[in-house]
Symmetry: C2
Subunit: 175 residues, 2 copies
């Protein structure tokens, strides 16, 4: 039986932070980039009165449209899918209006993974997979298998996790 890898979406394969920054800067005329985000989530840096607006961005049907895939994610996951069962696991319940956009985005970029292997959930403690790759330490904390923290500005100061910096690194690790 193949081992299984659960792969998060936002900030693990999908560059949602770029979209957040793009929309926030455009709407509120501010200048922010990824370098300003060390140790912070987007919600930590926006002003209090704009917080609800920014928190709602992922519910917009266009948020996922044309969203970049992280470098090497497609080719590495395609290679891994030969040896492992791959699941895409997104805490999509946090953004109930994002279901269809997330589904379409996965279909578009990872057509070689069956949609039967997509999981939209809230809590990731109920996953019965061998590995989880995720940018959120709280999901790795809840997970019962072997978790890897995918490097992101907001988690850059967290030291208690096995950090992975790129999809190329994942390819080598799971080869």
């Amino acid at each position: 039986m193949k081992q299984s890898i659960a792969i998060d979406m936002d900030e693990t394969v999908a560059d949602t932070l770029s979209r957040h920054l793009e929309w926030y800067c455009k709407e509120f005329g501010v200048s922010l980039n990824k370098k300003d985000m060390k140790g912070k989530r987007i919600y930590d840096v926006v002003s209090k009165e704009n917080l609800d607006t920014v928190k709602n961005y992922p519910n917009h049907p266009d948020f996922f449209k044309d969203l970049p895939v992280f470098e090497d994610a497609v080719s590495v996951i395609q290679e891994l899918s030969i040896k492992y069962d791959i699941y895409f696991v997104s805490a999509a319940m946090e953004y109930p209006n994002s279901f269809n956009a997330k589904y379409e985005w996965l279909k578009q970029h990872f057509s070689f993974i069956s949609d039967m292997n997509y999981i939209f959930c809230g809590y990731k403690g109920m996953l019965n997979c061998d590995y989880l790759i995720d940018d959120s330490s709280r999901h790795i904390d809840a997970f019962n298998g072997d978790g890897y923290l995918f490097n992101a500005p907001h988690n850059s100061e967290q030291t208690n996790y096995k950090r992975i910096n790129s999809w190329a690194e994942i390819g080598a690790l799971f080869a």
Copy 2:
């Protein structure tokens, strides 16, 4: 730590068969009821030329609207939620246009269960829960924990499973 129960939606808490029969009979002027369905799914009884139409019903936004909840499901699950972690686990990936309707239906009828405990998936073999209550034997086959087959016309002739006939029976079993 609480034990966990994963609960399927369609034909386990939601009476989707009634809606299927209602729409099919109305659209094609036929007469069918649950008694005609012994050992059969709706897709086994509709004529070949209407199959695609009927298969597409659950993708319609109104399919889940006003859909009945099975008797005692709400009160029993509310009681169980004190002692167990409850997850609603639907193979919603089979009907990608049903995500929002399913989400709203669960919110409407089971507001006491956090949406963080909803899981929309395809395959249920990746669930790390103690129990699964499901009308589909294939999901119980894939599940790693202790599975109970919720009685439905289509599964009435399957004998290799622990069968549960009602939510009242579930309430007594897990008390």
